[in-house]
């Protein structure tokens, strides 16, 4: 919407040390994960050897459906427990820490399927986001004198944020009355009420119309301007290219590539895994689970198709006779 959003912004650079490869070290990592693995029965959903998320930048986590992005999100935020691995946020281990404590440390997430609290008003949704509220404890909540002043301060901050997200006119409405895109905005604004240091957005653009997309993009860039670190999952390549400073690509639970948006999107492994240059090729070849190069796979596939066609022809000839 604003003109500066149309003009490409300066990206944060110099985030990594050494070569940009999967698991490469960052100059100033805020989140570090080591050997995080999660299996569901026989299926390995996430198997991340090492990854570091750079501080103060916008990092995109991309990959095909089923790559394990959301599962990885759940593991990092305590909503799911990995089978193995360790991960730390700002140098403190998060392994075995429950979800609400993770949020209190400043790592706040949103959900792929928006979780607006429908039968609470938009303002109540916002106020719920604030942490350390005295009135949220059972016995102190009975004495309004203890929490009223704090509650009013929170309400003011909520109104400011709502104005920034252009939801201020909706403050008194039930969150259930908002449109899908507005709910995404509300969820993001609500997460900001807790004054996080790392915001993790799970598909912030899913189901949002193009007009709202631009304002969402501005908001995400705004988070970075305010010194927050952003990690988001997204399928919209245009958006990733537009706002991400760093891109991490996952496929079949593994991290297959890392780097700045331009170089990652030129990486053949990414094109294979995600953008679909070799649609016929088994993803396992790209991630190294199955031997063979993509070219060999493609040839094998072509051969298989040719043989099938020949077999069909033979059957037809038999029938004609």
């Amino acid at each position: 919407m604003s003109s500066d959003a149309l003009a490409p912004r300066a990206k944060s650079t110099g985030l990594h040390q050494g070569e940009a490869a999967p698991g490469c070290a960052k100059v100033d990592p805020i989140l570090v994960a080591d050997g995080v693995r999660r299996t569901f029965g026989g299926m390995t959903a996430v198997d991340v050897e090492h990854v570091e998320i750079p501080r103060g930048a916008i990092t995109a986590l991309i990959g095909p459906n089923g790559a394990g992005k959301t599962t990885f999100f759940n593991l990092l935020t305590g909503f799911d427990t990995p089978d193995a691995g360790s991960w730390s946020f700002e140098g403190r281990s998060l392994a075995g820490v429950s979800a609400y404590k993770v949020a209190r440390r400043g790592l706040v997430r949103t959900f792929q399927l928006t979780k607006a609290l429908g039968l609470l008003t938009v303002l109540e949704n916002m106020k719920l986001g604030a942490t350390g509220q005295r009135g949220e404890r059972f016995f102190t909540s009975l004495v309004p004198g203890i929490w009223r002043a704090q509650d009013q301060a929170i309400e003011e901050r909520a109104h400011e944020l709502l104005a920034r997200f252009k939801l201020d006119t909706k403050a008194a409405d039930y969150a259930a009355s908002l449109s899908g895109g507005q709910r995404k905005l509300l969820e993001m604004a609500r997460a900001l009420m807790s004054e996080p240091t790392l915001v993790m957005l799970d598909e912030p653009m899913a189901g949002v119309n193009p007009a709202l997309t631009q304002s969402l993009l501005d908001h995400i860039l705004g988070l970075k301007d305010q010194g927050m670190t952003v990690l988001f999952v997204e399928h919209d390549m245009h958006m990733v290219r537009h706002i991400a400073d760093w891109v991490i690509v996952m496929a079949e639970g593994k991290i297959v590539a890392e780097g700045d948006p331009t170089s990652v999107m030129a990486d053949p492994a990414v094109i294979d895994a995600y953008l679909g240059a070799h649609q016929d090729v088994d993803l396992g070849v790209v991630t190294g689970r199955v031997t063979g190069t993509p070219e060999q796979q493609a040839q094998a596939e072509a051969e298989r198709l040719r043989l099938e066609a020949e077999a069909r022809d033979e059957v037809e000839q038999e029938e004609n006779r």
Partner: protein, 326 residues
């Protein structure tokens, strides 16, 4: 038909220990179901803990009535913790299964002859109102007006019950307008979202389960004040009566459960007097007076279904809420 007697009987039920006891149970269930979204199907169990906790404390331990009441409330806290610790981490439906089972287990324990000397098994417990009657400050005489007629012994439990109900409603009101209540309503809507905002969802659900459980148990105490405790009362249908009351008044409201209880009991008395009278008057030739008296229970079931389908927000509930029901 004697309309004045029927209407008189119905009106008298507006102020009675039964109505107050059910109102207390409904206020407690309102905290569970309406505010926190906890599907507690063991209302009868919580009431039984209150009633028997009170009666046993007096008969077996010789406590004065007020200490017995406190003991019963403490027992309901323990009951809530036992139910909550294993189930509140799971999805909501599991709480429903565990609470309905626990209430049945409790009822059967009260019914078994193995503990006859403590629980009185099928006969229940009676003759424990001495200490309560002694505490009665009311001078002897008749009180009340119109259909509401009491003497000093029947009015005293009503006063105690009304005080307990008022305190409970005030407590719930104070909690629900506070940020604590806001978190609870948030959990009702989506507990993962609230967890992601740094709230200890399990602790809140446990607090709500204990709070509501204590209020329901208070209902059980009021129900037995100055009368008796019988295992036949604390059956699963009691749970559904309380659900009907809560849904009638408005589950997510503070005063709705009280209003619901009054309407429920006025209707119950009205129907239980009207139906046999109709049979006697020859309007319903196909059933006996006894059968007609039972028809009201069928009507409660039908009423509950109609409520859930057509007016799930209840009488005092915000109609706007229903625009967005998923």
């Amino acid at each position: 038909m004697d309309w004045s007697s029927i209407l008189n009987q119905s009106a008298s039920s507006i102020i009675s220990t039964t109505t107050i006891a059910y109102a207390l149970a409904a206020v407690g269930l309102g905290v569970h179901f309406g505010q926190a979204g906890l599907l507690n199907m063991g209302v009868a169990g919580f009431m039984a803990v209150g009633a028997y906790g009170y009666a046993i404390s007096i008969l077996t331990f010789g406590f004065p009535w007020w200490l017995a009441a406190l003991t019963a409330l403490f027992a309901s806290v323990v009951f809530a913790l036992i139910l909550g610790i294993p189930t509140l981490r799971l999805r909501g439906d599991y709480l429903a299964i565990v609470t309905i089972a626990a209430a049945e287990v409790l009822r059967l324990l009260l019914l078994t002859v193995a503990f006859d000397d403590v629980t009185g098994s099928a006969d229940g417990l009676f003759g424990f109102s001495g200490s309560f009657d002694e505490s009665n400050p009311l001078p002897e005489g008749d009180y009340g007006f119109g259909p509401w007629q009491f003497n000093e012994t029947t009015l005293w439990p009503v006063i105690v019950g009304a005080v307990l109900l008022t305190l409970s409603v005030l407590l719930v009101w104070a909690l629900m307008r506070s940020p604590w209540g806001r978190v609870l309503r948030g959990i009702r809507e989506d507990e993962d979202a609230v967890r992601a905002l740094g709230k200890n969802v399990f602790a809140y659900k446990m607090q709500a389960l204990v709070l509501g459980g204590v209020i329901i148990a208070a209902g059980g105490i009021v129900y037995t004040l100055g009368s008796n405790a019988s295992p036949g009362v604390y059956v699963t249908s009691l749970t559904f009566f309380v659900y009907t009351i809560v849904l009638l008044g408005g589950a997510a409201t503070i005063f709705g459960p009280v209003l619901g209880s009054i309407i429920f009991w006025v209707l119950q008395y009205f129907l239980s007097n009207l139906m046999p009278a109709l049979v006697d008057a020859g309007v319903l030739p196909f059933m006996t007076a006894n059968q007609a008296g039972m028809v009201r229970f069928i009507l409660v079931g039908v009423g509950l279904m109609l409520l859930v389908v057509f007016m799930p927000q209840g009488i005092m509930g915000n109609k706007k809420e229903m625009t967005f029901v998923k």
